[in-house]
């Protein structure tokens, strides 16, 4: 019991240290703040729709305001104006953050789990298992995950869940597994693995207690990076009207560009800029956090 308490305390101390180090890096703090902001946006939309915004005017899909001519410039009623179809841009941007969150979380989760598992397996077993796994990864590396998801989503309408799943599958099997395998090989060459073997630790013990925990920081880092690709790919699929979610940042840009190119309507600049900025900021925030984490994990990179 005492030992357990001691262990818990030690873990909390080390976690506190990591948290302080992460918060000490300005890039990570900015990234976290942005992520928090998008989290708030996803929560705020249903609340705002219930309380302040009447559904007929502010619905992100079919809302229309008869008082202004679309595309309307920003006003007090429409903070970011309306798009070419007369819908409130602010409401659309907020509503779209939900599908982006689903894509990001699912893609990151699937990528992380698959990449860590396969990388650890390859590094631990070596031999023919490693041979097969790394050849499969090499093959998947030839195919960029974004392109493949786009091919699939052109034929099958993918929900955000499925989109994240397919993206994570390709990404985790390919690039992710390769990155984590090479880190795994480094870990397996460390003296503490030898020590664990000598002191009688079995294969399962080494795998779950030593190898995988050592891989976790890098796999978190890689998950964060894969979010960037997933979000941009999802935006692009939505831009070509190929996802189930009509309410998404890519679709907003698509409507604006099409209205201008095909029908010669005025360019709804607020909608275009706001949607693209939201997409870039959301993807960028994960990038910022990952580069902050990288600085913490690799002290050589901290600017001295």
């Amino acid at each position: 019991m005492k030992l357990l308490l001691e262990r818990l305390r030690a873990r909390r101390r080390s976690m506190g240290r990591t948290a302080r180090a992460v918060l000490g890096s300005p890039t990570a703090v900015v990234g976290f703040a942005l992520i928090l902001l998008f989290g708030l946006a996803a929560i705020a939309h249903p609340i705002l729709m219930k309380t302040v915004w009447p559904a007929k005017v502010y619905d992100p899909l079919i809302g229309y305001d008869f008082k202004v001519l679309p595309p309307a410039p920003p006003s007090s009623a429409h903070l970011l104006g309306t798009d070419s179809l007369g819908r409130d841009v602010m409401s659309m941007i907020l509503a779209a953050s939900r599908s982006a969150w689903v894509v990001a979380l699912v893609a990151a989760g699937v990528t992380g789990v698959l990449a860590t598992f396969i990388g650890a397996m390859g590094a631990f077993f070596r031999g023919w298992i490693d041979g097969i796994l790394s050849h499969v990864s090499d093959a998947f590396l030839l195919l960029p995950a974004p392109i493949f998801v786009l091919i699939v989503s052109e034929q099958v309408e993918l929900s955000p869940w499925q989109f994240g799943l397919v993206f994570g599958l390709i990404n985790g099997l390919g690039a992710g597994a390769i990155v984590l395998r090479s880190q795994g090989l480094k870990v397996m060459a460390e003296p503490f693995i030898e020590a664990a073997r000598v002191s009688g630790g079995g294969g399962f013990h080494i795998l779950t207690r030593h190898l995988i925990p050592q891989l976790l920081p890098l796999s978190v880092l890689y998950m964060m990076l894969s979010v960037v690709g997933a979000i941009v790919a999802h935006g692009f699929a939505a831009f070509f009207g190929q996802t189930e979610s009509l309410v998404s940042w890519g679709a907003i840009v698509f409507f604006g560009v099409t209205a201008y190119r095909s029908f010669g309507a005025a360019v709804p600049w607020t909608a275009l800029i706001a949607a693209s900025a939201a997409l870039s900021l959301f993807a960028g925030s994960f990038y910022l956090v990952s580069s902050g984490l990288q600085e913490v994990l690799d002290p050589r990179l901290r600017a001295r």
Partner: protein, 378 residues
């Protein structure tokens, strides 16, 4: 080194075969319909069924893949179900992609690594601004970037084309693909010639280097345009350059951030190494230490990153092509997918895979030349 390169080539070919198998299975599993689905409106069910049996589509998946592989190896790209694209145009689109890819990547690499050296070397506001800029362009939404460039520059470029070469260019007598192929070959040959002559000249004259990177770029440009003028296709190339300007710049803007960020990290990693301190202590100017001492050693991670991120650069290019309407491999791919032309989709994917492999091999040769640790046994 020959052995190392042979090993890499063989493992690349194995990867390509595994890749085609994976794509074949995934396309069969994830995309509904088969080669005859596009015709189902004009035929009765029995006719379609008969065709499917005739073409072996009723057989199990592994056998179908084996047949596909056999036919691909012995007969090449085969026929498309929609019939409008054959491998002539397919190669043409690859040429168009190659032009944008080579020039855009060159620009992105030069600017990215230069700005990355500055961003890593300088502390404070300038370094942070550069990093922030890189992250912004790294995550920019490609269709929006394409739209912005299109909106602001397209009509101006069209005007410029009209004024500069409007009278002297007649595409009816000249094949656009063949001009682009010649441009690609010229650029690649000119690059090799300039680099080789530069190295040779530097050795003969006993200098560290003859030309700065910018000087090399200018030399490559002068040599290429001189050759085109000599061959009498100067006006045609200008026309193509002005048309390709938007995709090239969009691609360069989208990918330079990657190089900048990796270069910055890499510089931060080496800037406290002993040889950098020594160079500073000798009283070298800061810029020389940055570019000649730290920068030279920091280039390896950038090259390594380049090898890993070829697929991502390519996917960025595919997305750019599709959003600015450049008739390259990406546009062909999406046309094929929309038309449910599955044989063509497979062909394009194989081309993308092979293209990636060749590029990877080229960069691996460069890496092996620059850093013998890669292939020498420890």
């Amino acid at each position: 080194m020959g052995k190392y390169l042979l090993r890499r080539t063989v493992s690349g070919i194995v990867a390509l075969v595994v890749f085609t198998a994976g794509m074949f299975v995934l396309i069969e599993v994830m995309i509904p319909g088969d080669y005859f689905s596009p015709f189902r409106l004009g035929m009765t069910g029995a006719e379609v069924e008969a065709l499917r049996v005739q073409y072996g589509l009723d057989r199990p998946l592994p056998i179908r893949y084996w047949l596909w592989l056999q036919n691909f190896v012995f007969h090449g790209f085969g026929q498309s179900t929609t019939g409008f694209v054959r491998h002539g145009p397919l190669i043409g689109s690859l040429t168009a992609t190659l032009l944008v890819f080579v020039v855009g990547l060159g620009l992105a690499y030069l600017f990215g690594s230069w700005l990355g050296r500055i961003a890593g070397w300088t502390r404070g506001a300038r370094g942070r601004t550069l990093t922030f800029l890189a992250i912004t362009t790294y995550t920019i939404f490609p269709p929006f970037l394409g739209f912005l460039l299109f909106y602001f520059f397209n009509s101006r470029l069209a005007d410029l084309r009209h004024r500069l070469v409007g009278a002297s260019v007649d595409w009816k007598t000249m094949d656009q693909t063949s001009v682009m192929t010649r441009m690609n070959i010229t650029i690649i040959v000119a690059t090799i010639v300039v680099l080789a002559l530069g190295a040779l000249g530097a050795r003969v004259l006993g200098k560290r280097r003859l030309l700065s990177p910018l000087g090399k770029v200018i030399a490559i440009g002068v040599v290429s345009f001189g050759w085109w003028t000599y061959k009498g296709i100067f006006a045609y190339t200008v026309d193509i350059w002005l048309e390709a300007a938007i995709p090239i710049f969009a691609f360069a803007i989208l990918s330079y951030g990657d190089f900048l960020l990796v270069m910055r990290t890499s510089i931060l990693g080496v800037m406290n190494d002993d040889y950098v301190t020594t160079a500073r202590a000798k009283g070298m100017p800061s810029r020389v230490v940055r570019d000649r001492h730290a920068g030279r050693n920091a280039v390896f991670p950038v090259l390594g990153r380049l090898i890993v991120s070829i697929p991502y650069l390519l996917s960025g290019l595919v997305i750019i092509e599709q959003s600015v309407g450049w008739g390259g491999i990406g546009t062909t791919l999406f046309d094929a997918v929309t038309a449910q032309d599955l044989p063509l989709v497979m062909d394009v994917l194989v081309l993308i895979g092979a293209f990636t492999l060749v590029l990877r091999l080229v960069f691996e040769v460069a890496q092996a030349i620059l850093d013998p640790r890669v292939w020498r046994p420890a």
